[in-house]
Amino acid sequence: MAKERVIYKKPESLTDVPFTYCWGCGHSMAHKLIAEIIDELDMREKVIAVAPVGCAVFAYDFWDFDVTEAAHGRAPVVATAIKRVHPDKFVFCYQGDGDLASIGMAETIHTANRGENISVIFINNTNYGMTGGQMAPTSLISQVTTTSPYGRDVKNAGYPIKMLELLSPLQGVKYLERVKLTDVPSIVKAKKAIKKAFVNQLTNVGFSMVEVLSACPANWKKDPVKANKWIDEEVSEYFPVGKIKDIT
Protein backbone atom coordinates (compact mmCIF):
# COMPACT_ATOMS: atom_id res chain seq x y z
CA MET A 1 0.00 0.00 0.00
CA ALA A 2 1.18 3.51 -0.76
CA LYS A 3 2.07 5.71 2.21
CA GLU A 4 1.00 9.31 2.50
CA ARG A 5 2.79 12.21 4.08
CA VAL A 6 1.40 15.73 4.65
CA ILE A 7 4.06 18.15 3.39
CA TYR A 8 2.20 21.47 3.57
CA LYS A 9 -0.65 22.50 5.84
CA LYS A 10 -2.17 25.46 7.63
CA PRO A 11 0.28 26.67 10.30
CA GLU A 12 -0.44 25.95 13.98
CA SER A 13 -0.32 29.67 14.74
CA LEU A 14 -3.54 30.22 12.74
CA THR A 15 -6.90 29.46 14.35
CA ASP A 16 -9.63 27.56 12.50
CA VAL A 17 -11.49 30.84 11.83
CA PRO A 18 -11.36 31.48 8.06
CA PHE A 19 -9.93 34.90 7.19
CA THR A 20 -12.70 37.43 6.65
CA TYR A 21 -10.53 39.52 4.32
CA CYS A 22 -11.67 39.83 0.70
CA TRP A 23 -10.51 37.26 -1.86
CA GLY A 24 -6.84 37.63 -2.80
CA CYS A 25 -6.23 40.22 -0.04
CA GLY A 26 -2.57 40.70 0.88
CA HIS A 27 -3.47 40.69 4.58
CA SER A 28 -4.35 36.99 4.33
CA MET A 29 -1.00 36.04 2.82
CA ALA A 30 0.91 38.24 5.28
CA HIS A 31 -0.98 36.67 8.21
CA LYS A 32 -0.18 33.19 6.90
CA LEU A 33 3.55 33.92 6.46
CA ILE A 34 3.81 35.43 9.95
CA ALA A 35 2.07 32.37 11.42
CA GLU A 36 4.42 30.02 9.54
CA ILE A 37 7.48 31.90 10.82
CA ILE A 38 6.25 31.89 14.42
CA ASP A 39 5.74 28.11 14.10
CA GLU A 40 9.23 27.70 12.66
CA LEU A 41 10.79 29.78 15.44
CA ASP A 42 8.70 27.81 17.95
CA MET A 43 7.78 30.94 19.92
CA ARG A 44 3.98 31.06 19.99
CA GLU A 45 3.92 31.43 23.79
CA LYS A 46 6.38 34.30 23.64
CA VAL A 47 4.62 36.49 21.06
CA ILE A 48 2.61 39.65 21.69
CA ALA A 49 1.38 41.21 18.45
CA VAL A 50 -0.01 44.73 18.22
CA ALA A 51 -2.79 44.97 15.64
CA PRO A 52 -3.82 48.20 13.90
CA VAL A 53 -7.01 49.99 13.07
CA GLY A 54 -7.85 49.04 9.49
CA CYS A 55 -8.93 45.79 7.88
CA ALA A 56 -6.47 43.88 10.10
CA VAL A 57 -8.30 45.04 13.23
CA PHE A 58 -9.60 41.46 13.45
CA ALA A 59 -6.14 39.86 13.41
CA TYR A 60 -6.71 38.45 16.91
CA ASP A 61 -9.46 36.19 15.53
CA PHE A 62 -7.03 34.56 13.13
CA TRP A 63 -3.68 34.36 14.94
CA ASP A 64 -3.43 31.77 17.66
CA PHE A 65 -1.13 33.81 19.90
CA ASP A 66 -1.52 36.91 22.04
CA VAL A 67 -2.61 40.01 20.14
CA THR A 68 -3.51 43.39 21.52
CA GLU A 69 -5.10 46.32 19.78
CA ALA A 70 -3.83 49.90 19.51
CA ALA A 71 -5.65 53.10 18.67
CA HIS A 72 -5.27 54.13 15.02
CA GLY A 73 -1.56 54.63 14.22
CA ARG A 74 -0.39 54.08 17.79
CA ALA A 75 0.82 50.47 17.47
CA PRO A 76 4.56 51.31 17.70
CA VAL A 77 4.20 53.16 20.99
CA VAL A 78 2.03 50.42 22.47
CA ALA A 79 4.68 47.94 21.28
CA THR A 80 7.42 50.11 22.81
CA ALA A 81 5.73 49.96 26.20
CA ILE A 82 5.11 46.21 26.06
CA LYS A 83 8.68 45.47 24.96
CA ARG A 84 10.21 47.71 27.64
CA VAL A 85 8.12 46.11 30.38
CA HIS A 86 8.57 42.57 29.00
CA PRO A 87 11.96 42.50 27.25
CA ASP A 88 11.76 38.68 27.17
CA LYS A 89 8.62 38.75 24.98
CA PHE A 90 8.63 38.91 21.21
CA VAL A 91 6.68 42.03 20.17
CA PHE A 92 5.69 42.98 16.65
CA CYS A 93 3.42 45.62 15.13
CA TYR A 94 1.24 44.90 12.14
CA GLN A 95 0.02 48.08 10.43
CA GLY A 96 -1.56 49.34 7.22
CA ASP A 97 -0.33 52.35 5.26
CA GLY A 98 -3.08 54.65 6.52
CA ASP A 99 -2.28 53.57 10.06
CA LEU A 100 1.53 53.71 9.82
CA ALA A 101 2.20 56.46 7.27
CA SER A 102 -0.70 58.85 7.87
CA ILE A 103 -2.28 59.13 11.31
CA GLY A 104 0.63 57.24 12.93
CA MET A 105 3.48 59.00 11.14
CA ALA A 106 4.82 60.68 14.30
CA GLU A 107 4.78 57.44 16.31
CA THR A 108 6.44 55.55 13.46
CA ILE A 109 9.30 58.02 13.07
CA HIS A 110 10.02 58.46 16.77
CA THR A 111 9.84 54.73 17.53
CA ALA A 112 12.26 54.05 14.67
CA ASN A 113 14.51 56.88 15.78
CA ARG A 114 14.66 55.56 19.32
CA GLY A 115 15.77 52.25 17.85
CA GLU A 116 13.27 50.24 19.85
CA ASN A 117 13.96 46.52 19.63
CA ILE A 118 10.68 45.66 17.92
CA SER A 119 9.65 44.38 14.47
CA VAL A 120 7.14 46.21 12.29
CA ILE A 121 5.24 44.60 9.43
CA PHE A 122 3.93 47.39 7.22
CA ILE A 123 1.14 46.46 4.81
CA ASN A 124 1.17 48.92 1.91
CA ASN A 125 -1.95 48.45 -0.21
CA THR A 126 -1.89 52.06 -1.51
CA ASN A 127 -5.22 53.01 0.06
CA TYR A 128 -7.41 52.99 3.17
CA GLY A 129 -8.94 49.56 2.69
CA MET A 130 -11.35 49.30 5.58
CA THR A 131 -13.10 52.61 5.13
CA GLY A 132 -13.73 52.23 1.41
CA GLY A 133 -10.55 52.89 -0.54
CA GLN A 134 -9.69 56.51 0.21
CA MET A 135 -6.37 58.02 -0.90
CA ALA A 136 -3.45 57.18 1.42
CA PRO A 137 -0.02 58.86 1.61
CA THR A 138 1.15 55.86 -0.40
CA SER A 139 -1.43 56.07 -3.22
CA LEU A 140 0.35 56.20 -6.57
CA ILE A 141 0.54 59.30 -8.76
CA SER A 142 -2.70 59.44 -10.78
CA GLN A 143 -4.22 56.56 -8.78
CA VAL A 144 -7.99 56.80 -8.74
CA THR A 145 -9.40 56.36 -5.24
CA THR A 146 -12.71 57.37 -3.67
CA THR A 147 -11.15 60.66 -2.52
CA SER A 148 -9.10 61.24 -5.68
CA PRO A 149 -11.71 60.45 -8.33
CA TYR A 150 -9.61 62.16 -11.02
CA GLY A 151 -6.44 60.43 -9.87
CA ARG A 152 -3.87 61.55 -7.26
CA ASP A 153 -2.66 64.98 -8.27
CA VAL A 154 0.81 65.74 -6.88
CA LYS A 155 0.07 69.47 -7.08
CA ASN A 156 -2.34 69.23 -4.17
CA ALA A 157 -1.66 65.80 -2.58
CA GLY A 158 2.13 65.58 -2.91
CA TYR A 159 4.10 62.53 -3.97
CA PRO A 160 3.52 59.03 -2.58
CA ILE A 161 5.66 58.60 0.55
CA LYS A 162 8.37 55.97 0.46
CA MET A 163 8.40 55.10 4.16
CA LEU A 164 11.49 52.90 4.15
CA GLU A 165 13.57 55.46 2.30
CA LEU A 166 12.32 58.08 4.75
CA LEU A 167 13.32 56.00 7.80
CA SER A 168 16.59 54.76 6.36
CA PRO A 169 18.88 57.63 7.52
CA LEU A 170 17.75 57.29 11.16
CA GLN A 171 20.57 55.77 13.20
CA GLY A 172 18.25 53.69 15.37
CA VAL A 173 17.00 51.77 12.33
CA LYS A 174 18.81 48.50 11.60
CA TYR A 175 16.91 46.66 8.91
CA LEU A 176 14.46 47.75 6.19
CA GLU A 177 13.25 45.61 3.32
CA ARG A 178 10.39 45.94 0.83
CA VAL A 179 8.74 42.79 -0.54
CA LYS A 180 5.75 41.74 -2.64
CA LEU A 181 3.55 38.65 -2.71
CA THR A 182 2.72 38.34 -6.40
CA ASP A 183 4.20 34.91 -7.20
CA VAL A 184 5.91 32.00 -5.45
CA PRO A 185 9.50 33.36 -5.65
CA SER A 186 8.36 36.73 -4.23
CA ILE A 187 6.37 34.99 -1.47
CA VAL A 188 9.45 32.97 -0.52
CA LYS A 189 11.57 36.15 -0.44
CA ALA A 190 8.92 37.97 1.60
CA LYS A 191 8.91 35.19 4.16
CA LYS A 192 12.69 35.31 4.40
CA ALA A 193 12.62 39.07 5.00
CA ILE A 194 9.94 38.87 7.70
CA LYS A 195 11.85 36.05 9.38
CA LYS A 196 15.01 38.16 9.36
CA ALA A 197 13.15 41.09 10.96
CA PHE A 198 11.88 38.71 13.65
CA VAL A 199 15.27 37.10 14.28
CA ASN A 200 16.78 40.60 14.57
CA GLN A 201 14.59 41.24 17.58
CA LEU A 202 15.40 37.86 19.13
CA THR A 203 19.12 38.65 18.82
CA ASN A 204 18.65 42.22 20.16
CA VAL A 205 19.72 43.87 16.92
CA GLY A 206 17.07 46.60 17.14
CA PHE A 207 14.39 48.24 15.01
CA SER A 208 13.40 46.38 11.84
CA MET A 209 10.61 47.02 9.35
CA VAL A 210 9.39 45.03 6.36
CA GLU A 211 7.07 46.78 3.91
CA VAL A 212 4.77 44.37 2.12
CA LEU A 213 3.29 45.57 -1.20
CA SER A 214 -0.10 44.10 -0.70
CA ALA A 215 -3.15 43.60 -2.90
CA CYS A 216 -6.50 45.21 -2.11
CA PRO A 217 -8.57 43.66 -4.91
CA ALA A 218 -11.86 44.96 -3.50
CA ASN A 219 -10.99 48.66 -3.57
CA TRP A 220 -8.75 48.42 -6.63
CA LYS A 221 -11.72 46.82 -8.40
CA LYS A 222 -9.50 44.13 -9.85
CA ASP A 223 -9.63 40.35 -9.50
CA PRO A 224 -6.78 38.84 -7.44
CA VAL A 225 -4.69 37.80 -10.49
CA LYS A 226 -5.00 41.29 -12.06
CA ALA A 227 -4.33 42.95 -8.70
CA ASN A 228 -1.01 41.08 -8.46
CA LYS A 229 -0.21 42.07 -12.03
CA TRP A 230 -0.81 45.72 -11.11
CA ILE A 231 1.63 45.38 -8.20
CA ASP A 232 4.26 43.89 -10.53
CA GLU A 233 3.77 46.51 -13.24
CA GLU A 234 2.90 49.71 -11.39
CA VAL A 235 3.20 49.60 -7.60
CA SER A 236 6.68 48.02 -7.50
CA GLU A 237 7.84 50.45 -10.19
CA TYR A 238 7.37 53.31 -7.73
CA PHE A 239 8.15 51.30 -4.57
CA PRO A 240 11.09 49.10 -5.60
CA VAL A 241 11.37 45.77 -3.76
CA GLY A 242 14.62 44.78 -2.08
CA LYS A 243 16.74 45.68 0.90
CA ILE A 244 16.76 49.39 1.70
CA LYS A 245 19.00 49.13 4.77
CA ASP A 246 20.77 46.31 6.58
CA ILE A 247 23.25 47.05 9.32
CA THR A 248 22.50 43.91 11.32
Binding site: K9, W23, M29, A35, V184, N228
Partner: protein, 76 residues
Protein backbone atom coordinates in the same frame (compact mmCIF):
# COMPACT_ATOMS: atom_id res chain seq x y z
CA UNK B 1 7.80 11.40 -10.95
CA UNK B 2 6.83 12.31 -7.41
CA UNK B 3 3.12 11.81 -6.81
CA UNK B 4 0.79 13.88 -4.71
CA UNK B 5 -2.67 15.10 -4.04
CA UNK B 6 -4.14 18.17 -2.42
CA UNK B 7 -7.00 18.73 -0.01
CA UNK B 8 -8.91 22.01 -0.28
CA UNK B 9 -10.55 23.39 2.85
CA UNK B 10 -13.89 24.58 1.51
CA UNK B 11 -14.51 26.78 4.51
CA UNK B 12 -11.32 28.75 3.92
CA UNK B 13 -11.22 28.85 0.09
CA UNK B 14 -12.50 32.04 -1.56
CA UNK B 15 -12.14 30.92 -5.16
CA UNK B 16 -9.56 33.63 -5.82
CA UNK B 17 -7.96 31.33 -8.41
CA UNK B 18 -4.37 32.22 -7.55
CA UNK B 19 -3.69 28.46 -7.14
CA UNK B 20 -5.08 27.74 -10.62
CA UNK B 21 -2.58 30.28 -11.94
CA UNK B 22 0.25 28.71 -9.93
CA UNK B 23 -0.26 25.00 -10.69
CA UNK B 24 2.08 23.93 -13.52
CA UNK B 25 0.03 20.77 -14.09
CA UNK B 26 -3.42 22.30 -14.47
CA UNK B 27 -4.64 20.11 -11.62
CA UNK B 28 -6.99 22.72 -10.12
CA UNK B 29 -10.17 24.13 -11.65
CA UNK B 30 -12.95 26.45 -10.65
CA UNK B 31 -15.59 24.30 -9.04
CA UNK B 32 -19.36 24.48 -8.81
CA UNK B 33 -19.76 24.29 -5.02
CA UNK B 34 -20.58 27.43 -3.04
CA UNK B 35 -19.34 27.59 0.56
CA UNK B 36 -20.98 29.07 3.66
CA UNK B 37 -19.48 32.50 3.00
CA UNK B 38 -20.87 32.45 -0.56
CA UNK B 39 -17.61 31.81 -2.37
CA UNK B 40 -17.37 29.56 -5.41
CA UNK B 41 -14.56 27.27 -4.25
CA UNK B 42 -11.95 25.59 -6.47
CA UNK B 43 -11.65 21.83 -7.02
CA UNK B 44 -8.77 19.38 -7.36
CA UNK B 45 -9.05 17.62 -10.74
CA UNK B 46 -7.12 14.55 -9.58
CA UNK B 47 -5.87 13.69 -13.04
CA UNK B 48 -2.84 11.87 -11.64
CA UNK B 49 -0.57 14.73 -12.69
CA UNK B 50 0.00 16.27 -9.24
CA UNK B 51 3.62 16.01 -8.16
CA UNK B 52 3.23 17.57 -4.71
CA UNK B 53 5.26 20.63 -5.75
CA UNK B 54 3.33 22.82 -3.24
CA UNK B 55 3.19 25.85 -5.57
CA UNK B 56 -0.60 26.03 -5.16
CA UNK B 57 -0.43 25.85 -1.37
CA UNK B 58 2.32 28.48 -1.13
CA UNK B 59 0.25 30.77 -3.40
CA UNK B 60 -2.95 30.34 -1.40
CA UNK B 61 -3.41 33.45 0.78
CA UNK B 62 -6.06 31.70 2.85
CA UNK B 63 -4.07 28.62 3.91
CA UNK B 64 -6.83 26.49 2.39
CA UNK B 65 -4.63 23.91 0.65
CA UNK B 66 -2.98 20.91 2.26
CA UNK B 67 -0.45 19.02 0.13
CA UNK B 68 0.03 15.30 0.57
CA UNK B 69 2.90 13.37 -0.93
CA UNK B 70 2.07 9.82 -1.98
CA UNK B 71 4.95 7.45 -1.46
CA UNK B 72 4.51 4.32 -3.58
CA UNK B 73 5.73 1.03 -2.14
CA UNK B 74 8.87 -0.22 -3.83
CA UNK B 75 8.17 -3.88 -4.70
CA UNK B 76 11.04 -6.24 -3.95
Amino acid sequence: MRKGRIKIDRNRCKGCMLCIDACPKGEIKQGTAINKAGYNVVEFRNNGECNACMLCAISCPDAAIEVIEIIEDVKK
